[in-house]
């Protein structure tokens, strides 16, 4: 009678709440254990093959950048420290060969130094691309600046190569004397610097291709 009287008065249906009462005590523990399982599963999960090859390309990009830093700075240093003085001199001037004597060589030193500085500054972005393989903004920015650096390095190397060829062979039509026969050490150093700069240009082209391949969405 009491129960029927109470239901008539209140008008609501008694809903068994035993389930919620029992789960009220353990939700924090259950939630934490669920999170632990999910995190452990994510950590040991097999990386999808897409991010694996993108990560490999990022590591290759980083290694190539380190090599390019070495070559550009070597080229700039080798050209910048040229200073050969011939043992004979006349009353009025000394026979000295320096990289500042030829504007193409000055441009060579400046161009290689700029490329080396850019590479050092781009190393953090390369590391970001390894850590997050699916990032697009940083990769695109590296592609843009690498594409601008390729003609810079190629121009510096080619201008210096043109002058070095002239210094080795001279030109009879323009009456330009081959100076390498006198300034031997200077010529060797300068030729070596040009070779190093061409290797750096090749590495830059590889960097552009690696960035382009890694940009693909697959």
């Amino acid at each position: 009678m009491d129960s029927s009287h109470s239901t008539k008065e209140t008008g609501d249906i008694p809903i068994p709440i035993t389930e919620s009462k029992s789960s009220k005590k353990t939700p924090p523990v259950a939630a934490v254990s669920r999170w632990k399982k999910a995190f452990a599963a994510k950590k040991t999960a097999h990386q999808p093959p897409v991010s694996r090859w993108k990560r490999a390309l990022g590591i290759l990009d980083f290694i190539l950048r380190i090599c390019a830093i070495a070559t550009t700075l070597a080229a700039a240093t080798a050209m910048g420290t040229t200073n050969q003085q011939l043992p004979f001199f006349t009353q009025f001037f000394q026979f000295k060969a320096d990289y500042t004597d030829l504007p193409a060589f000055t441009f060579f030193v400046i161009g290689n130094a700029m490329a080396g500085a850019y590479l050092v500054l781009s190393l953090p972005f390369s590391i970001v691309c390894i850590v997050r393989p699916h990032i697009i903004g940083a990769r695109l920015m590296l592609l843009v600046f690498d594409t601008i650096a390729v003609p810079l390095i190629t121009a510096a190397a080619s201008a210096a190569a043109s002058i070095v060829y002239l210094a080795h062979n001279g030109n009879s039509d323009a009456n330009w004397v081959a100076i390498c026969q006198q300034f031997d050490d200077f010529c060797q150093r300068v030729s070596g610097a040009v070779v190093a700069s061409y290797i750096a240009a090749l590495i830059f082209i590889f960097l552009v291709i690696v960035s382009a391949v890694a940009l693909r969405r697959k």
Partner: protein, 179 residues
């Protein structure tokens, strides 16, 4: 750019616009490189005086850097003409990936070659205009005036070609990332 749910295998319409822009830029680059190659290759100036033994004549193959410039410009303009076909293919089918990467690779190589030729020729032109006192190289432009002007003008076309090739590479990169 996305209409409704993203469908796999269908490129956004911006890729087609990029491909059309790519085609027109290639046409501009062809004109620039071809004009500069022809302008350099047709140089021929003979000075009005001559001695008994030699004639004073200036041609592009007197200087090896200019020969290299003509060869490099010709190769790059031939490559650009052949790559017009690829460009049209990309306008028709905008979702090709491997062909775009191949085009980007070849564009980078072409840009390197063109820039090498232009820089070598520029170094010689600078030497011809100013001479060099330290190495005792005499500025030949004071005598060969018309030859020098023509050579300097042809360099402008090839530098324009380099700039356009840089833009083409950047466009290909953007199109690859939007896919």
């Amino acid at each position: 750019m996305k209409a409704g749910p993203l469908q796999l295998g269908v490129a956004p319409p911006a890729n087609r616009a990029i491909a059309i822009l790519d085609f027109f830029l290639r046409l501009i680059a062809i004109v620039g490189t071809l004009a500069s190659a022809i302008a350099m290759a047709t140089t021929n100036q003979t000075l009005p005086f001559f001695s008994q033994f030699i004639r004073f004549r200036a041609k592009f193959n007197d200087l090896p850097s200019f020969t290299f410039f003509v060869v490099a410009s010709s190769i790059v303009s031939a490559y650009l003409i052949l790559s017009l076909g690829f460009s049209i293919l990309h306008i028709a089918k905008s979702n090709l990936v491997n062909s775009r990467v191949l085009l980007l690779l070849l564009d980078t190589a072409a840009m390197g070659l063109l820039m090498a030729g232009s820089a070598a020729a520029t170094a010689i032109v600078q030497l011809a205009h100013k001479g060099n006192n330290k190495v005792n190289w005499f500025a030949i432009c004071q005598q060969y005036n018309s030859f020098c002007k023509r050579v300097s003008g042809s360099l402008i076309g090839s530098y324009a070609g380099v700039v356009v090739l840089i833009l083409l590479i950047l466009l290909s990169g953007v199109a690859l990332s939007r896919r």
